[in-house]
């Protein structure tokens, strides 16, 4: 499957905007990606190995958090995974 890399993470993936990985599940795909590009790991995951709260993963047009099998969802070569850091802000302080 193809994993789309957002602008801020491209320096850690040799400048690529997309990386092709062979994987059976989303988790395997992420594992393959971070094995090839270890520098991506700390930007995607906390030290405990959990996906950082502000990192969104979209499997085609679906938020991985809301898929029944989440990261264990099966993938095929034609699927895409988009890594999208969140965008928010504003005047108010919470």
């Amino acid at each position: 499957m193809n994993i789309f890399i957002p602008t801020p993470l491209r320096p850690y993936a040799e400048g690529k905007d997309a990386v092709e990985v062979n994987a059976a599940t989303i988790a395997e795909a992420l594992d393959g990606l971070t094995k090839t590009y270890p520098g991506l790991r700390k930007h995607l995951f906390t030290e405990e190995g959990k996906l950082r709260a502000f990192v969104n993963l979209y499997f085609n047009d679906e938020d991985v958090r809301y898929l029944a099998d989440k990261e264990q969802t099966a993938v095929s070569a034609s699927d895409t995974l988009s890594i999208i850091p969140s965008i928010a802000g504003g005047v108010a302080v919470e």
Binding site: T7, K42, V55, N56, I84, I87, G89, G90, V91, V93
Partner: protein, 146 residues
């Protein structure tokens, strides 16, 4: 101070967006190309503000909308260079919330002060640093291009 280059019509359009949504915050993405001297923005894509609960002082772009914006950028051979939003009746300076919620390292965050419905000051801040823990906003000069 590093430079942030943007086409004049794009600059005008993001300021107009802030006037249109006043007294609510507007938001959108900036598309362009990376050059050795920094970003050169050639297009802006408006986004909906999902914070309808507090749109006068908060903004958020739905991730799926970002996914689609990135697809469009890719189709045009451009990159997401940064994002813009407005501060209704507040200065064009980043807030603590803007900083806490900024995660696109290496991208520019453009803020326009809209006072009484009129776009006044627009500033750009580059999110520098190589990790979330050491990120910083650095103001950059805006250079308009025809």
């Amino acid at each position: 101070m590093s430079a942030f280059r943007i086409k004049r019509n794009v600059y005008d359009s993001i300021r107009a967006h802030g006037e249109e949504t006043y007294p609510h915050e507007c938001c959108g993405a900036l598309l362009g190309e990376s050059t050795p001297n920094g970003w050169r923005v050639t297009e802006a894509m408006r986004a909906g503000n999902t914070r309808t609960d507090s749109a006068h002082n908060r903004y958020s772009i739905a991730p799926l909308e970002l996914v689609r914006i990135e697809r469009e950028a890719r189709r045009q051979g451009l990159e997401i260079a940064g994002f813009y939003h407005s501060h209704p009746d507040h200065p064009a300076q980043w807030s603590a919330t803007d900083f806490a919620e900024a995660h696109w390292l290496g991208c520019s965050y453009v803020i326009t002060e809209v006072a009484q419905g009129k776009a006044v000051v627009t500033n750009s801040f580059l999110l520098t640093g190589s990790t979330e823990e050491e990120k910083q906003f650095v103001q950059e000069s805006i250079q308009l291009e025809e």
